[in-house]
Structure formats: C-alpha cells, structure tokens
Symmetry: C2
Subunit: 262 residues, 2 copies
C-alpha cells in the first residue's frame, strides 16, 4: 500500500511571507506523496476589516455572512491557494490548487443550528476520493483550500482541520494515510508557555486525563478530537507540530504523535 | 477529430449575477466539448477602489502593481472562478477551475517595455496543451482564469482574450478548435450605436477596409487581431457575439464570424 501524508497548515505559516516560502521549499522536498490543506489566516480578517465587514467569531468559528464568504473565497481559494501553487511549482513540485467545487472535490451542507445562524458555514458531506486518487496517480501534488460547496450552486466556508481529517479518512481505504497538523507550537504542550514541554505521545486515556486537568486548552480540543476520530477510521498516524520542523515531524523526532492504542 | 469550443466571457457577463447564472445554465447545456476562459470585470476595479489602490489603465491594459496583483488574483482566481465552477456543478457540468500556476497550465513572462512599467503583467510563454487535453479526456470542463505565473514563483496578470486565443491555437494540433469571444454587443457592428447592424462575416481584406474607415473602434482591434492570428495558426473558426445568444452563435445564426479566406 502506498503511503500518503495529508498536511494542514494554519495561519501562522500563511501570514509570514518569508516563513511560507521557506516552509514550501521543505514541503516540495518531501519524498512521500503528499497533499497540502490550508485555510486562511489573518489576511481574510484584515481584508474584511479594511472593507468594513464586521467579523464575528463563535467558539473559534467565523460567522460567515454573504460579504464574509466573498472575502474568504477571494483570500483562501484565490490569493493563498495560487501563491502556494506558484511557489511549489518554482521548487519543482507539480502542484495543482483546488477548492471544494472543483470536480466536486468536497461537498458540504450549510450548518443548521437551532439558535445560532452560522451563515455560509459548511459541514462536510462527501470527499471525492476517486478524483483525489486519480490526480495523485497523475503525479500532481494537491493544494486544497477550505472553500466547499453544496452542489446547488452555493459556496461554503469550511474548517480546514476537518477537511484534512476527512480527506485522510477517505484516502485510508486506498493508502496508508498520515495526518499532520502544523501550527505555531512545537507540539501539544504540558505548559502552554514552555515550548520545550512537548508531549511526545497522547493516547485516548491520557487525552481524557489532560482534558480533566485542563492542561489542554480549548483551541487544541477540536484538533485532538479530529485526530482521534481519524485514527478510529483507518488513518494510521496523526502528528501535531511546528511547520519549521516538518522533516523531524515526518521522521518522528519532533512534535506530538497521537495514537489509538485501544 | 473531436471538436472543442474555447469560449471567453468578459466583464458584462461576470458583473451581472442573474445574467451570469443564466449564461452558465446555457453553457452547461452545450453538447460540444468546451473550455471557459474568464477575466475579471468591474469587481476587481471596485475592490481596488474600496481598498484605496489607485488603478491605472494604459491602452485598456491594467498597470498591475503588487497590491493590484493581489486584488486580481483574489477576484479572478478566487471569487469569480469558484463562483462559476459551483454554478456549473449545480447544472450538472463537471467543471474544474484552474489558473496558470496549476499544473503549470500557463506560463508567462513579465512584460518588459523600454519606457512603461506594466508591473506584474504577463505575456504568455507556453500553454500546457497536454494537461488540458488530459483533463478533457477525463470529461472535465475547464474554467480558466487570467492569472498566470513565470515558473519562478511570481504570479502574473494576463489578458484573457489572449489566453483564450493561445489555448485555441495550442489545442488545434489535436482538436478542431473554435474560438468564441462573448461580449456586451451582438457582434462586430457597422455602427457602434446600432445593435442591429451586425457584420456577419469579416475576412482580412474587409478588416483592413473597416479599420481604414475607422468603423472598428480601438477596443475591438485587439480582439480581431487575436482572431486573425488564431486563424493563421490552425484555429478553424472565430466567432464574436453576445453571451445571451450563445446557442445561436454556436449554430451560426447570430454574431460575427471571422474567416481567413486567403
């Protein structure tokens, strides 16, 4: 079975021009098959502010009104996606940038909630694993933005962590999949203020303990929930760490590895 | 030999939400293989103005400074491209939206001029006909934005009319290609103020005559020059007309047909 890495980058990598360029050089050099998933970062928020569109966050999720949807589509599917693709191409990596509507790659449905109107936020319905697999066999490196659609002509804003997780799950039928979340810290930390306090391994029992002791903060919980759900559905490994240490994270000498040793 | 239509839409189609949606329903219904090429329209100019980025036009070409490049990349490759793709998908057309850097689809070089700095404007160097042809064989309908790249990590803004023409030329080795320019008029007009005065056919001799008599205005000249160059390089037919009459334009009962009857 072929191995594939599904790597998700966050705002900290995207927002720093020099850092992004250096990360993408390292990414292009990864020998394994790989997919890059990205969201937006501060650029979308900054653009919305410049345009006088008020931004509302709820539990870390952006309330996506019509104007905000236009902004995130422009920033994620346009500027960031194409900037990443052209930088990868310049490093000899044959990247192709896609969003949910392209070839019906990712479909979602508008989130319904009894009391909160999330606007054009989409929860994933399906991943077109056949299309992804076919493009991988044609030696493309996919760069996927967090913009999805509902098949009825509506674009939707979707959480990039969840997209990465769902892609990893969908591909695990055909590939040995490894899901890698890159963020601003060297891994999951015992002490949020101490970057040397990386937890090397977390299993479900230890995760419960860390949550109980409130060592794991609210921002990490969705990431770790995503990780354990992926492991329960065929994904071989989940790793969390810094984009600066992508090579060490892949070879297992840095970051946090999430394991399901039930 | 299979036939393929390369259809370019302009700002008049893109700027009108209802018009775009109705055009795309008609486009999805076209039985022949087809590729859609689009630029930007007024949205990019409006966004640049909102952001306080001064826009300079020279002979109808936008001077693309760094900030303007970011705006056109967001609008063309992001918002417009993905809006078109999701609308086509909702009409049962398996569209995939690409820009120049994707799979190295279109490479360009930054325009050099002895006295004018066009900024990040790109003149086309190569079209990846092999990639286009391969995606066509996989039954995708390509939607291509006017953003290209230089293979060295730089995105560039490129004229969409020229992209459509170069794609038609590049595909004419393998397909019977027809190039269709859609704009706000029913065709090339004898009198710019009379929409019934459509010129049915223009050949090179007649074109010279029309230019001499100043019947053809400056905006039409690059389009017609593009058309004749395409005909000289293997493209079978070039048609110019209104997006409302796409079906009639294809079956030859509306618009202007450009022919090279040397």
């Amino acid at each position: 079975v072929d191995k594939i890495l599904i790597i998700k980058i966050g705002g900290n990598v995207i927002d720093d021009e020099a850092g992004l360029s250096s990360f993408l050089k390292n990414f292009a050099g990864i020998k394994e098959r790989k997919i890059l998933v990205h969201g937006g970062g501060k650029l979308a928020t900054a653009l919305a502010e410049q345009l006088g569109i008020k931004q509302q966050l709820l539990d870390g999720r952006r309330i996506t009104d019509k104007e905000t949807l236009r902004v995130v589509t422009m920033v994620y599917a346009g500027y960031i996606n194409k900037t990443i693709v052209t930088l990868l191409q310049s490093s000899g990596c044959n990247a192709i940038g896609l969003s949910g509507p392209d070839g019906n790659l990712i479909t979602a449905r508008k989130r319904e909630h009894p009391t909160i109107d999330y606007g054009f936020a989409g929860d994933i319905e399906s991943i077109n694993a056949e299309l992804i697999s076919s493009l991988i066999r044609q030696d493309f490196t996919l760069v996927i933005s967090a913009i999805t659609h509902d098949r009825k002509g509506q674009l939707l804003n979707t959480n990039a962590d969840t997209i990465a997780q769902q892609i990893a799950k969908a591909l695990s039928r055909e590939y040995e999949t490894e899901l890698i979340y890159l963020f601003e810290k060297p891994g999951v930390l015992m002490d949020a203020n101490d970057n040397t306090a990386v937890i090397k391994k977390i299993n479900p029992a230890y995760y419960s303990h860390l949550k109980e002791k409130k060592i794991i903060t609210s921002g990490m919980i969705p990431k770790l929930d995503n990780a354990f759900e992926a492991l329960g559905r065929g994904v071989k490994k989940v790793k969390i760490g810094s984009s600066d240490a992508i090579k060490e994270l892949i070879n297992g000498t840095a970051g946090t590895t999430i394991v399901d040793d039930k």
